[in-house]
């Protein structure tokens, strides 16, 4: 059992408790797993209106250097040089074996500055890794004084535009700065639900004010980590530590798309030799969507077998998809079984249950597209 006293809390801790959240330990923080609405309704609400998530546990930092894009490209396979100011890229911190240390968002602020958002459980390691590897070339400044809110869902743009009119027309995967009721914010049109939405970085001191202002808007509900997980699973998005980790390469993770043509041609990222080979010939294993054909959910670590009872992989994330209205899962299987339509079996409570390999996502993405 985790000692509650050793847990960190976000600047919204008092608000969560006042809202009736059930708090649980997550990545060293006491975080709201659900509010009185409950995971199922919180999930559905986010897909039909707007949900407000506290993701202040995530790691934010600024990286500065004369050739900051080239410097960070030595640690990630994304094309950062191509980013124009305000553009955001999803990329991967890699180790020398081509394994994934973390997944992260990189925003180009200006020619010498990048803004990074990394996973809570990895942030200390990530930031130490980046600072050490890029020593003398770029300087990393952690933003432990900043909170992060996510406003997600089809009405998020309408809600946020009341405070920041420019928010409505921002393209997906871009960031900007502005003011929210006089509070300086860093705003990104991005998220982890498959819906349109924003991530809003603000000072710890103003977090509660901004959160309360958003929650006072019609159709905005606070949403906990439980629904955050079911939303991202339906959207086919990876959870670091479950679906991807240092034992998965980008190819294993079905994330080859994060490596653009220039980086494929030039290499120059950790594990490039191995990864570029895998892009050509495939990896032995691959992350896939797995749809149980019955009603029973199959949870993480459920064994996946072929029709003859041979072990071919394991589920990495699985549960019930409230919008899909049925069980959903993803996992990593031997590449010979990775083709959508392949019939497999899942061993749940000792019984072999039929399932099918499917394309991700389970619920189509509805990111903002400029008219």
């Amino acid at each position: 059992m985790t000692d509650a006293d050793s847990l960190k809390s976000t600047p919204l801790n008092d608000l969560h408790i006042a809202l009736g959240a059930k708090m649980v330990p997550f990545a060293g923080y006491s975080m709201p797993v659900q509010y009185p609405l409950g995971v199922l309704k919180e999930h559905l609400h986010t897909r039909t209106a707007a949900g407000l998530f506290d993701v202040s546990h995530m790691g934010q930092a600024t990286l500065k250097g004369a050739d900051v894009d080239a410097a960070l490209e030595t640690l990630v396979p994304g094309d950062l040089k191509a980013l124009t100011p305000g553009q955001i890229r999803y990329t991967l911190l890699l180790n020398d074996a081509g394994g994934i240390i973390d997944d992260l968002m990189v925003t180009r602020v200006d020619s010498t500055t990048l803004y990074l958002v990394v996973n809570a459980a990895c942030k200390d390691g990530d930031f130490a890794h980046i600072a050490t590897k890029l020593k003398g070339r770029a300087t990393l400044t952690r933003h432990d004084d900043a909170a992060l809110l996510a406003l997600q869902g089809p009405t998020a743009a309408k809600v946020l535009a009341k405070f920041i009119p420019a928010a409505a027309s921002m393209p997906f995967m871009t960031g900007t700065t502005g003011h929210f009721d006089g509070v300086p914010v860093r705003l990104s049109r991005s998220g982890y639900t498959g819906e349109d939405g924003y991530e809003i970085s603000i000072s710890n001191a103003s977090a509660e004010k901004v959160a309360k202002a958003l929650l006072a808007q019609p159709g905005v509900q606070p949403i906990g980590l439980g629904a955050r997980d079911s939303l991202r699973l339906e959207a086919g998005l990876c959870l670091y530590g479950s679906d991807i980790d240092t034992t998965t390469t980008p190819t294993t993770a079905a994330l080859n798309w994060v490596i653009g043509p220039r980086r494929r041609a030039e290499g120059g990222f950790p594990g490039a030799g191995k990864i570029l080979g895998e892009i050509k010939t495939g990896a032995p294993r691959k992350r896939v969507g797995i749809k149980p054909l019955g009603k029973a959910p199959a949870r993480a670590h459920t064994e996946v077998q072929d029709g003859n009872g041979n072990r071919i992989g394991e589920i990495s994330s699985g549960g019930f998809g409230p919008s899909f209205n049925g069980p959903v899962a993803m996992g990593t299987v031997d590449s010979a079984f990775a083709k959508p339509g392949t019939q497999v079996q899942l061993i749940v409570r000792g019984q072999a249950l039929p399932a099918e390999i499917v394309s991700l996502p389970f619920v189509p993405h509805r990111y903002f597209k400029k008219q």
């Binding site: 309704k41 439980g226 029973a296 549960g319």
Partner: protein, 125 residues
Amino acid sequence: MSETRFTKDHEWIKIDGKVGTVGITQFAQSQLGDIVFVEVPPAGKAVKAGGEAAVVESVKAASEVYSPVTGTVKEGNNALPDAPETVNKDPEGAGWFFKIDLANPSELDGLMDKAAYDKYVAELS
């Protein structure tokens, strides 16, 4: 004459002669949250006191339902798999999981009555 007894794992069993009806308590359903999947045991299945008898899953997690007593399943509530939310709505009524023929009614003496269970739950929260 019927009476209801409770386990520390938050199952209830309502006794009617040598047959018990088993479900999970109001407290258990409130802790689980929205129930999305239920598996009930087939008639004829032999279960032991404290042994796994049924499954209940919320969006987040799967939980076992343990049999409060030893016996043979007389009937599973076959309405539940198609309407698992019944367990949230009426856990101690229509949301029952299975009926069991008691092998050893004296096992009931080891279970809590309503007053004892209410006190037990109050101490948990």
